[in-house]
């Protein structure tokens, strides 16, 4: 037994010293998988950008099951990877345990706050980005009614909806915002059929622009909106390409920038909470050739003016998660 312990200790030490010389950064993708055309893929793109710019290499790991999280973190930390970036709030609990055991390794977690001296917590001001696309929706709507379809009914998604409603009201104070959540269980993220029916129900209530913040359910929302010839708004990554000319814009969460920055800082990563908002290009709205014909110069000018005010602090968008209330909408 003692011999075994010594052997294990020696091999662990060896692994640590061997890794320390390399100090490659590492990234762990959450269950959605690396090529999910959204959140995880954005993170991968950020890492890739760092690799091509610096010529460095990085380690990567894809989660296959819920139970692997802690083990994966330990494995990478023991292997000497530094810093270790992980995508998704679900890593929170595991990281809280592992970070304390590896005080010399730096970690970065996206979408979650973990209070440890060697962890950088990256969170996004989704309400600011949602405010901007909400303004666009308010300006683009002809009926004066716009819709919001959230995935699972959690505070984070209400934060999207609340920012959106505020933006709509700012553009058109007489507008009506129809808010729906897909469900209260994780299956609400993957129910495009229900997303499609919610879209039709909102259209029946007069909505002609619908913002989907609902993961896989949003695919159904965008599809039905395109079929029914109304406008939709994508989320997380640029989804304008999915139905060219029918997706008004997308609320972008620049997860790629967050990963890129973390990799660039390397083992000098600054711990603490890093808020990615409009001011530091953490969130924004997507413009490309697919939606150029939908967004008039006046709309863009109005939205850019609001963005400038938010950046300078002149305009403060209410964050639902700060007090669980929303001035512009009731959930």
């Amino acid at each position: 037994m003692t011999l075994m312990k010594h052997l294990l200790g020696a091999s662990a030490l060896l692994a640590v010293t061997a890794g320390a010389a390399l100090a490659e950064p590492a990234i762990i993708f959450d269950l959605g998988g690396k090529f999910d055309k959204s959140f995880n893929e954005a993170a991968f793109n950020g890492a890739q950008r760092w690799a091509t710019e610096t010529g460095g290499t990085f380690k990567e790991l894809e989660m296959q099951s819920e139970a692997q999280r802690e083990q994966a973190l330990r494995q990478l930390a023991e292997g000497g990877a530094n810093p270790i970036v992980m995508t998704g709030f679900a890593f929170g609990d595991s990281l809280n345990i592992v970070a304390a055991d590896f005080p010399d390794t730096k970690f970065a977690i996206i979408d979650m706050v973990v209070d440890q001296p060697n962890v950088k917590s990256v969170v996004f001001n989704e309400h600011e980005g949602s405010y901007l696309v909400g303004m666009m929706a308010g300006l683009a709507s002809k009926s004066g009614t716009v819709g919001f379809i959230g995935g699972m009914d959690i505070p984070l998604i209400r934060k999207f909806g609340c920012g959106y409603a505020q933006g709509v009201m700012a553009a058109n104070p007489a507008a009506k915002v129809v808010l729906n959540m897909t469900g209260t269980t994780p299956s609400a993220w993957n129910d495009p059929v229900k997303g499609a029916e919610l879209t039709k129900a909102q259209i029946a209530q007069g909505a002609d622009v619908i913002y989907a913040a609902a993961g896989g359910t949003g695919i159904g929302v965008l599809q039905t909106a395109a079929d029914e010839k109304i406008l939709s708004i994508g989320v997380d990554s640029n989804q304008n390409y999915m139905h060219p000319g029918q997706v008004l814009t997308s609320m972008m969460k620049r997860v790629d920038n967050a990963v890129y920055e973390a990799f660039k800082e390397g083992d000098a990563l600054t711990a603490g909470i890093n808020v990615m908002g409009l001011a530091n290009d953490g969130v924004g709205y997507a413009m490309d050739e697919n939606n150029a014909s939908l967004v008039t110069p006046e709309m863009q000018a109005a939205v850019d003016a609001a963005a400038a005010k938010i950046k300078s602090g002149e305009l403060v968008v209410h964050d639902y998660m700060s007090d669980n209330t929303c001035p512009a909408a009731t959930f």
Partner: protein
């Protein structure tokens, strides 16, 4: 609530109810023959993936539909092998197939399309498009019935009408044909069927394969009719709701239609909390509306609305002579 809103909700009811109806009828054949099938969900998922994949690759929704049915029947065959030939536990086989379907659908879709477990979006002839029934436009002016015909009955994809026609067909097969009589008997008392010189094994296999075909229709309708492609876990538990509907309908076809449409109606209502609030004048939480089908099923199971007695030989592998 005005008439137009009611029509919109009924229209939604049909779209949401049809996958449940197809899956419910699928379960009915299997369970009436004495084979419990928890794997409806997995078969639908498999059918959704294979139909969307093949439709996307060939551009033809009909080839996609055939592939969807084939994929679902493959799973049905495995369930048949496990529970009929090898006399395994039917519940365990069904649960296992659900797990396999959940993983393998994403795996195949990812390896073919590399879009995060989704299939490529379907366009044009690769989708079931809505078909307008004759005179729908012309009769729109007729009061009450005209809009009902135009909004609710017309304008669905072909599989909706197939699903509705399957109800009387199933009733006829079960209660008016020799095959139906034997099928019901094999679920109640397989020994008597065996004594009459009819193969229990063949009857049960045929029922399980019919289940595969119907689940194939349900999955293909969801992926190529309601949606334009497959997405991870897109059936979202409808196979289980269909099982609840089957119990609610007490394993009878017409009642299955009623139960699934009722469940579809509740789901459609849950999409319009504003309407519910306007009608009952109290704010009803959406999760409460979502839970209604399950509550009703529990009420039925508790024996408050008559007794729900499953086929007597259900879940029991048949062993000939000892």
């Amino acid at each position: 609530m005005d008439y137009a809103t009611l029509l919109q909700i009924l229209d939604s009811t049909i779209r949401l109810g049809i996958p449940l109806l197809l899956a419910c009828l699928a379960g009915l054949y299997s369970e009436r023959a004495g084979i419990f099938d928890i794997g409806l969900e997995g078969k639908m998922l498999m059918a959704a993936m294979s139909s969307a994949t093949v439709a996307a690759l060939t551009g033809s929704v009909w080839i996609g539909l055939a592939a969807g049915i084939a994929g679902s029947m493959l799973f049905a065959l495995v369930h048949g092998l496990a529970s009929i030939t090898f006399r395994g536990n039917q519940l365990i086989s069904g649960v296992a197939l659900n797990f396999v379907a959940s993983g393998i659908t994403v795996l195949i879709a990812q390896s073919i399309f590399a879009q995060g477990g989704r299939t490529a979006p379907l366009e044009g002839g690769a989708r079931f498009l809505p078909i307008d029934l004759p005179f729908a436009e012309a009769l729109q002016g007729v009061p009450i019935l005209g809009p009902l015909y135009y909004e609710v009955i017309s304008g669905h994809s072909i599989l909706v009408y197939v699903g509705l026609l399957l109800v009387p067909l199933t009733w006829f097969v079960l209660y008016r044909t020799r095959y139906g009589l034997r099928l019901r008997a094999v679920g109640e008392n397989p020994a008597s069927v065996d004594t009459a010189g009819v193969s229990v094994r063949n009857l049960r296999y045929s029922a399980v394969m019919i289940t595969g075909v119907l689940c194939g229709l349900a999955g293909a309708y969801m992926a190529c009719g309601l949606q334009a492609g497959f997405g991870r876990e897109m059936t979202a538990g409808r196979g289980y709701i269909a099982l609840a509907a089957l119990i609610f309908a007490k394993w009878r076809p017409w009642q299955a239609l009623g139960a699934t449409m009722l469940f579809g109606f509740f789901q459609a209502l849950a999409l319009r909390p504003d309407v519910v609030e306007a009608v009952v004048r109290v704010k009803v939480p959406v999760p409460a509306l979502d839970a209604l089908p399950y509550i009703l099923t529990v009420v039925v199971l508790a024996g408050l609305v008559g007794k729900a007695i499953p086929p007597r030989a259900g879940g029991e592998p048949y062993v000939k002579e000892r």
